[in-house]
Structure formats: C-alpha cells, structure tokens
C-alpha cells in the first residue's frame, strides 16, 4: 500500500492547503496579511475606536501638532485642525470611507467582471467579437477621465464617485479575465474535459478557475490600487465626497491651505493612502508568489 499508517502525518495536501503552507512560511506576507486584517477591522469598528466624533470642534485647541511635538496636547494624539477637530478621528473616518469604497469596488468588479469576461470568452462568434472590440475601444480612454466624465453625468456624491470608478475600471478587468480564460481554453486538460462532455459552467468551475488564480490575484490587486487612487483623486478634486463625508483625498484637499502652518494635516492622510496601497500590494504579492511556487 502506498499510504500506510506509519507516515500518516504526511497527508496529501490539496493545492489550496499547499499554497497556504507556502504563504505561512513567508514572514513579510504574513505580517502584511495581519495588517490587512487590522485595516479592515479599523474600517468596521471605526465608530468605537475614534476618540472624538470627527465633526466635533474644540474651539480652545486649534491647530495642535501631534503628541511628540512641543506644544501638543496628549488628548489629541495627532493634533487638531483649524476648527479644532481631532485629526486622529478624522483620519480613521477617512480610512474607513476610502478603504470600504475601494473594497466594495473590487468585490463588485470581480463578480461582474468574472461573469462578463467568462461568458465573453466561452462564447464564440459575433457576440464574443462585439465584447472584444467594444472593450478594446473603451480601454483606450484613461480610466480617470472615464470616471470624471461619468461623475459629471451622475452628479457629484461619494456613492456616485464609487459607481463611476467601478465602471471605469471594469473594462480592464473584463479584458484581463477574458485573456486568461482564452489562453486556458487552449490547454489540453480543458480540451480533455470538453471531450468528457463537460458543460461550459463545469469547465469553468473545475478546469479553468483553479488554474488562473495567479493572474486573477494580480488583476484584483491592480484594480484595488487603482480604485484607492481614483477615489482619493476624485475626492481631492472635489468631485467625490461632499463636506460632511470625510475621505482621505478630500481631507488632503481641505487642509492644503494650512500646509505651511501645520503640515501634519496633509502628511497623515497622504501616509494613510500610501500605507493602504503598500500593505495590500505586499499581501497580494505574497499570495501570488505562494501560488506560483505551489504550481511547480
């Protein structure tokens, strides 16, 4: 017998388990994973972590620096702005709005893009070529421009900016998925599954999707990064969140006048955007490398 009880601890790992075991062995990837979890927890439990309501004004404490600079007040960890609002609370609120927005966009795009992309790839003939060439045309327009045009059409609000960003990023995801599935369809195991009499859905579920995890992770990572950047850009330009909604890009734009008096007000939101992007990128890269290593 090949599997005997003496070596029972050496179980045969499924590809997912194997990828997970490789992922666990990479320190940076695991740290970034916990950082991602922490960011998501911050976004969920923002209300309970914030020391003050983000709109609460402290008229006696204006433009305080962060706690490690002289003249600060420990009650406001990262200082206050020109109306005496707590920077830390506003920063958390901003992270919540930007991060949930970007994650929502990524989830929506991945679901919609998978459905459209795979139907386009599995279809043949006129329908497929319509999708193909339409997407090609859409891809020539820069995404930010598309988002700007859409938001002018929809009207300015945070929800509309999310909608505009997701619509502007959708074509490239569909295109990416389409290309992945197209190359996968020419592989012999997919042809063999076809000869077994598989339906397209079964082909997709068992034959194609398990084998395109790596490109999907890369695509999703790119979509997420671009979503964060576009949401904040739209916020910065004043097309996205309105005054009551605090969003990282809008936060930078509002405090830009104060940059010589209190540079921290611009620095912290900028750092937050940078950290969100870099953490998610390292996390995605860790998954990608684990998947690649797991394949050979």
């Amino acid at each position: 017998m090949l599997i005997n009880n003496e070596f029972n601890e050496e179980k045969i790992q499924s590809p997912q388990q194997y990828i997970w075991s490789i992922f666990k062995s990479k320190n940076i990837a695991v740290v970034s994973m916990w950082a991602v979890v922490a960011l998501i927890l911050i976004a969920i439990f923002c209300q309970y972590i914030m020391p003050y309501p983000p709109a609460l004004q402290h008229p006696d404490m204006l433009l305080l620096p962060p706690y490690w600079v002289d003249g600060s007040n420990p009650a406001h960890l990262l200082g206050t702005d020109d109306l005496g609002r707590d920077t830390f609370s506003r920063l958390l609120k901003g992270i919540q709005l930007t991060l949930t927005g970007a994650l929502l966009i990524t989830v929506a795009i991945s679901l919609l893009g998978l459905i459209i992309g795979s139907t386009a790839a599995l279809l043949k003939g006129v329908k497929a070529s319509i999708v193909h060439h339409l997407l090609d045309a859409l891809l020539t327009i820069p995404t930010l421009l598309t988002a700007l045009i859409l938001i002018v059409l929809f009207g300015m609000s945070f929800e509309n900016s999310l909608l505009a960003v997701s619509l502007s990023l959708l074509p490239q995801f569909i295109r990416g998925i389409y290309n992945c599935i197209e190359t996968e369809l020419n592989k012999q195991y997919v042809v063999a599954l076809r000869l077994d009499g598989s339906t397209n859905l079964r082909l997709l579920r068992y034959g194609i999707l398990p084998n395109i995890i790596e490109p999907i992770v890369t695509l999703l990572n790119r979509i997420f990064t671009m979503a964060v950047l576009e949401i904040t850009t739209l916020g910065f330009l004043g097309f996205g969140a309105n005054l009551e909604e605090i969003e990282l890009g809008a936060l930078i734009a509002k405090n830009l006048d104060l940059i010589y008096i209190s540079p921290y007000l611009v620095l912290f939101p900028g750092l937050a955007i940078f950290m969100i992007i870099i953490i998610f990128n390292i996390f995605a890269e860790g998954i990608r490398h684990a998947v690649i290593e797991g394949e050979d």
């Binding site: 045969i12 195991y189 042809v191 599954l193 000869l195 068992y206 034959g207 398990p210």
Partner: protein
C-alpha cells in the same frame, strides 16, 4: 459483420489568406477513406504537417469536417448525441502532464466522465473506477493523488484509465509514445495490447516511429500532404511498400537499437 468505424470521403479545408483580397483553399486532409473493425488497431503514420493529427481530432469530435461522413456502427456521427459519441470514442493526448488538470485529484479526473455520461450511482461509479484502475495497473490509493505527484508513465496510465472508464469502442492515441523512453514505451504498448485483449477495444494510433507501430497494428495508413498514400495490412506495408513516401519513412526511422 458490420464495421465499427467507417470513414467516407472525409475532407477538411481551411482558408489561408495571402494578401488582402485573395485567399486560397488549403486542405488539412482530403478524400480520407478507411474502416476499422472491432478489436483491431490501425496506425496512421506520416510526417508532421501531413494532417494526421487533424484527422484524428475530427474523429474524436474536437474539430468538424468540411465534407464527408464518419459512420459509427452504421450510424452517421452527425446524428449521434455528444454523450453517445463520448461513450464510444475516447482520445489520449500526447502529453498526459498537460492533459490532466493539475488542480484536480485523480479521483475527480476519473469521476468526471462517469458523472457526465452515465447514470451510475456513486457506489457503481466507485466500483467502475476501481476496476478501471486495476485494468491499467494502478492502486486505488492513487485516487487522492494530484497528477504532478505521479511519474510520466503513471500519468499515461491515468490518462488511459480516463479513456477506458466509459468502456469505449475506439480509443484514439495521438502520439502518446513520443515523450517516453524505449522501455517505458514498451510498457505502455504492452498495457495497450493487454487492454485490447481483455476489452476488445479498437485503437487508432498516430505515430512517427514505424518500427514500434509494426508490433501493435493490424492496418497501417501512411499519409502525405493530407492524402492517404498507402493503406494496407501491416506486413504488406513493411515488406512491399508501394509509395516512395512509405519507403522514405521506413528508411528514416531505423531505430537506434538495431544499428
């Protein structure tokens, strides 16, 4: 006795454009006629580009012919459902490492054709899988393995099990011997012969190497530029080749171990 497979004037053309407005019709193969009896082996031999792979892919159902008909037990394949076609004609690909899904266990790979093409219960499926595995000489333990954990000849055995699991009438082997060394080739060939003896299946073998094929085939078809140049009983082809192409192939494929 009715012939199992009968191929009648099969042609495959495709357009090749040369320039913007003009295009010429090219033949992948044309006017192919042959028949195959139950339990017999026919080998298709030819240089690369002679249309033999396209021909067997058409028989397997991967491509469609431009004209002509394939008859399976007297019925045209056009009138047979995909399921029945799957059940009676199965194909082996030349590289099993590519034709077995790397993300599925052997068990799942073998269950898929049963699930899709038969009405067996789960217990019957298990029994059928076990029988087929023992037919190709693998232990049932391999069911929980992934394809990349097996050696290349074991992968061939799994691919053969997948082909045999529906008890087909015809198995098409597309250059399955190409990637193996001599001893493993013989192992695989002996396995094929054993299965043929037990189950009475017919083989269509596509090959480059003429001397290996001599051992297993009853009939040999030599193709050149999409046309059949020689179609005869094996010994006739080897002893008195009629066309110059066959002579050329026979000369160029003197195996190393006979020198």
């Amino acid at each position: 006795m009715q012939t199992l497979l009968n191929i009648n004037n099969l042609c495959k053309t495709y357009r090749r454009s040369n320039g913007i407005f003009s295009s010429t019709l090219q033949y992948a193969y044309r006017d192919v006629n042959f028949s195959l009896d139950k339990g017999k082996t026919v080998s298709i031999i030819g240089e690369s580009g002679s249309g033999k792979s396209t021909l067997v892919q058409t028989i397997a159902g991967l491509r469609t012919q431009s004209s002509g008909d394939i008859y399976l037990q007297g019925q045209s394949l056009r009138n047979i459902s995909v399921q029945d076609r799957c059940k009676s004609i199965r194909m082996l690909f030349h590289a099993p490492s590519e034709s077995l899904n790397p993300k599925a266990t052997i068990g799942r790979i073998l269950t898929a054709p049963l699930k899709l093409n038969s009405n067996m219960t789960a217990i019957q499926q298990q029994q059928q899988i076990k029988n087929t595995l023992s037919l190709v000489g693998l232990l049932p333990d391999y069911l929980s393995f992934y394809p990349n954990m097996l050696s290349s000849v074991q992968q061939h055995q799994v691919a053969l099990a997948r082909a045999m699991i529906l008890d087909p009438d015809i198995i098409i082997a597309d250059e399955i011997l190409a990637g193996l060394d001599i001893s493993l080739r013989f192992k695989l060939i002996n396995l094929l012969l054993k299965i043929q003896e037990q189950k009475g299946v017919s083989f269509i073998v596509v090959a480059h190497n003429m001397s290996l094929v001599r051992h297993i085939s009853d009939h040999i078809i030599v193709m050149n530029d999409g046309e059949i140049v020689e179609n005869d009983i094996t010994e006739n082809v080897y002893n008195s080749p009629k066309s110059s192409k066959t002579k050329h192939l026979l000369q160029s494929h003197k195996p190393d171990y006979r020198k």
